[in-house]
């Protein structure tokens, strides 16, 4: 598997070891991109900082918490407002973002008193919220404010509040991944085991590495509830602070995004003996296998099989409608850390697209092992790419669409390549059976958008046809289909509702008989 040096990076030869092309018959023992290293000076990375990884990926999706950054206001504001980690409590954690607003004078004179005032003001402004997380930033770390001591002082003075402190300043790691690690370890060290609720359920899991992007967690909760499984805590999307303090009481950790949250599962396994089961919530086949595995673990496989059968019957005709129209479209799968391996094989097999490139901004070599294994021969795999490399790859590979974040996505649009937001989604949720069809629909709409077709014409130089009317996406997608496929009565495009998440919040679930020999984990 040859390493690949982009032409634009020839002046940074170290970059060569960060990209490979998967050749015919080659495997990951032959070449593997380097990963999780400091970005090479001179290459303009697309990564986030370790503070952002701790707070904006993992901490802030917790829903019943005041999340406060101790630092300049820009740290917290600049990326949080683009997130779509929704919750079922009216999105408190999305609507409000808090910062101590450090200025130059605080760098000189210290900012602990400023922080204390901010903490008390925030609790006073939201008297119903009694939980807080505080995040160190570069500025507060450099001057050495002792946030933990301050938090202890406030908890002593106000016994009804509980505060978690995360010391993961921006410079505390090569990328946001350093922050994921730090907050995982900080949470288990500081908070797990500090509450002990009595749990009256036979089957108890923590759902870990799931951030409820546009409702993903709620979709998966629906399946677990239909199986009679009690989800004690979700780490962390739509999750409750106090539930997460009780993670030690689960029977099983079901792990979705291993990149951001395997650490806490590993520690829970070592410290409390709770097994870790890695699952895939994306794709009909991987999701079916995942639900079955969880069912097998608890001895309730039949319940999982019933759901799998129902959901496949409902949604397969719709997925296949899109598959027929997405066949052999070329995609670049360029997410942050884990979706390259969650999606690479599932979109190829279930939606028919060809993954011509995978990249990861902050993944480790383990993510590349998974991602490269799961994509087909010929794919270009890149670690920590820069903008010029992305442009060069798009020019060479000519993808029909790319899945990436907002910043590289907007760059792609400028060269007329449509993109879907791999981090926050377009019209998610994309997890679950219905969600997977919504992903296919977004992909279809992106590739066959009539507006996108118009954008391919440059009015400053191209001849603009005046004899053609406006076309629809269906006219574009079906032009080359056989009549048999075009008119297949068994296939249909998405028929779900605009909002498929809110109705789940009021859904009533069946009661299952309790296990004969009742095992209480209380």
């Amino acid at each position: 598997m040859p390493y690949h040096l982009f032409k634009c990076s020839q002046c940074i030869p170290e970059r060569e070891k960060h990209a490979v092309i998967k050749g015919v018959g080659e495997d990951i023992s032959m070449a593997l991109p380097l990963g999780y290293l400091n970005t090479i000076p001179g290459t303009i990375s697309e990564r986030g900082c370790a503070y952002c990884g701790a707070k904006h990926v993992i901490g802030t999706p917790m829903k019943d918490v005041i999340h406060l950054s101790h630092g300049p206001v820009g740290c917290t504001y600049d990326t949080w407002q683009t997130k779509r980690y929704i919750s079922d409590n009216n999105n408190f954690q999305l609507k409000y973002t808090f910062a101590s607003d450090m200025k130059e004078k605080h760098i000189v004179f210290g900012a602990e008193q400023l922080l204390k005032k901010n903490i008390l003001d925030a609790f006073a402004a939201f008297p119903d919220i009694k939980r807080m997380t505080i995040y160190q930033t570069c500025a507060s770390a450099l001057i050495g404010d002792d946030i933990n001591a301050l938090a202890d002082e406030i908890m002593e003075e106000n016994p009804d509040v509980d505060i978690f402190v995360c010391n993961s300043p921006g410079f505390g790691g090569p990328s946001q991944s350093g922050g994921h690690h730090k907050i995982n370890i900080a949470w288990i060290n500081q908070k797990v085991g500090t509450v002990n609720p009595s749990i009256d359920a036979d089957y108890v899991i923590n759902y870990v590495g799931e951030y409820n992007i546009q409702g993903d967690q709620e979709v998966m909760m629906d399946y677990f509830k239909r199986m009679g499984i009690y989800v004690l805590a979700t780490f962390t999307g739509n999750g409750s602070y106090d539930d997460l303090r009780a993670m030690h009481k689960a029977h099983l950790n079901v792990l979705e995004c291993a990149r951001s949250a395997e650490y806490i599962c590993n520690e829970l396994r070592v410290r409390y003996g709770i097994p870790r089961m890695d699952i895939d919530g994306f794709g009909f086949e991987p999701l079916s296998a995942s639900l079955r595995k969880v069912g097998l673990f608890f001895g309730i496989e039949e319940r999982a099989l019933t759901i799998i059968e129902e959901e496949n019957a409902r949604w397969q005709p719709e997925l296949d409608w899109y598959k027929a129209r997405l066949m052999h479209k070329k995609v670049c799968l360029w997410p942050g850390g884990s979706k390259l391996w969650h999606w690479a094989n599932a979109i190829h097999e279930e939606m028919g697209v060809d993954v011509v490139s995978v990249y990861t901004k902050f993944g480790h070599q383990g993510d590349m092992e998974k991602g490269i294994s799961r994509c087909e021969e010929g794919a270009l795999a890149v670690d920590d790419p820069n903008e010029l490399e992305g442009l060069e790859a798009m020019e060479t590979l000519q993808p029909d669409i790319i899945f990436t974040g907002k910043r590289p996505g907007e760059v792609a649009k400028k060269i007329r390549v449509p993109y879907l937001n791999a981090h926050a989604y377009h019209n998610g949720p994309w997890k679950g059976f219905e969600g997977w069809v919504r992903f296919a629909r977004d992909m279809y709409n992106g590739i066959y958008s009539p507006i996108h077709q118009l954008s391919l014409l440059d009015i400053s130089q191209d001849e603009i046809p005046t004899d053609k009317g406006f076309v629809t996406n269906r006219m574009l997608s079906d032009a080359d289909l056989s009549d048999e496929v075009r008119n297949d009565p068994n296939l249909r495009p998405y028929t779900g509702n605009y909002d498929c998440v809110s109705p789940l919040r009021n859904k009533v679930y069946p009661e299952f008989p309790r296990k004969e020999k009742e095992v209480s984990v209380a």
């Binding site: 990951i28 097998l296 673990f297 391996w341």
Partner: protein
Amino acid sequence: MSNDIQNKVEELVNYIMKKCLWQFHSRTWDRKRQNDNILGMTAQLIYGGDVKPATPEEKCYWADAVCLADAFRNRFGWLADMDRADKEALMTGLKERIDFLTVTGSLNLELTDVHY
């Protein structure tokens, strides 16, 4: 190992690498433990034996093993025609190859980190 068995091993390897996640835990000792337990149980199931997991940890391995054994049987029809000796050669070859790809031949520099 005959060429035929070797080719069949590669088909199984390809399935695991495309569909499974358990083989990619983050440290050498973790990966060895996963491979030993899950592939060990899968082999027993493929040979027609019964696996009785007792602890939660064993149940977790077993759940992956049951799904893997079923997938092998469903996808690779030739498995049903193999005798026990060939099945043993196949599963031994599979274990060796997965151990190589994920542990002994892995280029992942983080595998030997002493911490998680």
